[in-house]
Amino acid sequence: MMTSEKTVSRAANTAQAWTRLSPVAIAYFMVKFTLRFIKEGLQTALPGLAVFIASVDNKLFWLSITLPVLLLLIVLFAALYWWNYKFRIQDNEILVDQGVFKKQRLNLNFSRVQNVNIAIPFYFSPFKLVNCIFDSAGSSKAEVNLPGVSGDFATQVRQAVFNYHRQQHDNSRSSQDVENQTETAIHDSGELVLQLDNKEAAKYGLTNMTVLVLLAAFMPFIDDIGELTKRYVIPEIEHILTFMGIELQNGKAVAAIVLLILVVAVVIGFSVLAALLRYYNFRLFDDQSKLTRFAGLLERQQISVAKHKVQSIQISQNMIARLLNRVSLSFKQFGTANFSMAASKDIMIPLLPPDKWQAISQRVFATHGGNQAFTPIHSAYVRRVFGYFWLLPIGLLCGIGGWFAPVIWFGLVLLAPLLLIIYLNYRRYGLWFDQDYAAVRSGFIGQKITLFPLYKVQKISFSQSRGQRRLGVANVQIIIASGALSLPYVPIDSVYQLTNRALYLAESDPRDWM
């Protein structure tokens, strides 16, 4: 028996009986359930939350009781979940029993495993444990996780999956995928393509302000926060300013401005910290058939994507990234438009200089000439969209409403910024295509370019209104497996050329789209 087969056999032997995870996995479940509660539980609790905000007086007092109770419940539930979580590996299948109240048996045959990814959260590192993630791509319930197993065990199971694929499909692509995966240790693999300075990860935090959404969670408490701020914080800031020798006439106003600046700085700080946690020591490797990225400070994560599974490459640049002269690059797989879980399986390069994205994307889409000029859409887009969808209804509303209350006429003031938004949108829209690839550009102040090979198209549709038929333009929608791309007011000849070319390639190219 070969050494690799011996180790496989050993792995198989240790997990043939039902096995519990390491108790350290309780920490993993605590993090998982806390995040799930924040994402999903809050939505369910919204009606109760609304009653709490509207009716309860001493909100902070009740919060100070509720939060520790919630935390205790999460700890207890995580411990029970760990106690009930058992796995075994038998007959080329991973079996998992999980659930506290609702018992679940998961079966994942080795043949359905597309990727075996490994993540190392910081709380697992001292114990040399990892989170072993079996990915069956193409489904929203894509993963079976074994958190808190040893690194050796994870490698051995990955080898077992590879051996199974090799036995079943000697020359097939799927076995090649897993073979390439298995050759990869938990560490580096292939040619180092990109290593990001941690400063770039921090800059990404400046461009990605989704943490602002968290501020919305504080809106219900704005009155209480306002009161506390007026009573305690603003006087303190005034004292500090006076102590620094800054005498001001309107001290309260200045103190409020200083507080606002501090709040914005804290929010930006959180965003930068989150980006660093996620993209610390970012490295991208290419071993010819797949890209692998390693990153993460508290949880070192390895994500691999087989090149042939990439459906499109998205190059995006929001307003702040434009100021920093940077772009973000995402390699998108099947289903990432629809399944939020699957989006985490995309490889995303948070920030890089604009002159680098083409070389990196050509490692996946080898022959694209994607930095060519885009064909703009027809200028009639501006007057039609503005005229029919904004000027007409707002004009009518103001005209009729203004007859009853003249103040409604001020609604017409909205038209100027709306026109500007539509015009900026129009300037961003563009289409480019050649014999094998196409790209769609859209945006407002920033821009987003989606580049894809024509042979991967799933469906194409185009539509025309009567006015568009007269102008010789159409709205086109291209569906690829990573999502839909739409463009309005494209010259009809370009629509026909693109459609005919894409259909020809989709229908004749022997390569599998996935």
């Binding site: 629809n338 014999q435 799933q458 185009f462 025309q464 005919n500 259909l503 989709a506």
Partner: protein, 185 residues
């Protein structure tokens, strides 16, 4: 070793989607929409009438105008159902299916057979009464990636379904050998 060839193909040598002719849907297809809309409208109007009576809402000018608007919209939708029928059509080619629809907004949708994940036949009670069926083609890419063709005669729907499944099955097995040839069927 097989002879390798990679001659460029000019755009005008490709099958032209803009030159396709389409087969019309079943003659009685608009009646399915008509009866579905009638059932819905009847329930809606009955609900409004009950509300007016139960809530004792006075039959003022505004209420009359509102009801008139609702009736006009319904009448327009009935007219549109029959008037737009002639703008609908389906075309099966060797490698894909095309569907066009729309009177004011005209759209064409094309789905290659080798992208169809699975195919369903739907028959509502009204469709069963009228001898009609709908076909729904599912592709990768989410709900927006699906194509529904309604208003087909049952027999034609079965024929299309059989052909599509056959073509998809053939393509999967024989894709290396098939030449791309997209003449009309």
């Amino acid at each position: 070793m097989p002879t390798f060839s990679n001659q460029p193909i000019a755009s005008d040598e490709l099958p032209q989607v803009e030159q396709q002719t389409y087969e019309p849907l079943a003659d009685n297809a608009p009646w399915e929409s008509f009866w579905s809309a009638t059932i819905f409208n009847s329930i809606l109007l009955a609900g409004v009438a009950i509300l007016l009576v139960v809530a004792n809402i006075p039959f003022t000018l505004l209420v009359k105008l509102g009801l008139l608007l609702v009736v006009l919209v319904m009448a327009f939708s009935y007219w549109h159902t029959f008037a737009s029928h002639k703008y609908k059509g389906v075309r099966l080619r060797e490698q894909d299916i095309l569907f066009k629809k729309g009177m004011f907004w005209r759209s064409v949708t094309i789905v290659p057979f080798n992208r169809i994940q699975h195919l369903e036949t739907h028959r509502s009670p009204i469709e069963r009464k009228l001898g009609l069926a709908s076909l729904k083609f599912y592709t990768a890419g989410g709900a927006g990636a699906d194509l529904k063709v309604s208003g087909l005669e049952v027999q034609r729907a079965e024929q299309i379904k059989y052909k599509v499944l056959q073509k998809a099955g053939l393509d999967l097995a024989d894709q290396v050998e098939d030449k791309h040839d997209n003449d009309d069927i």
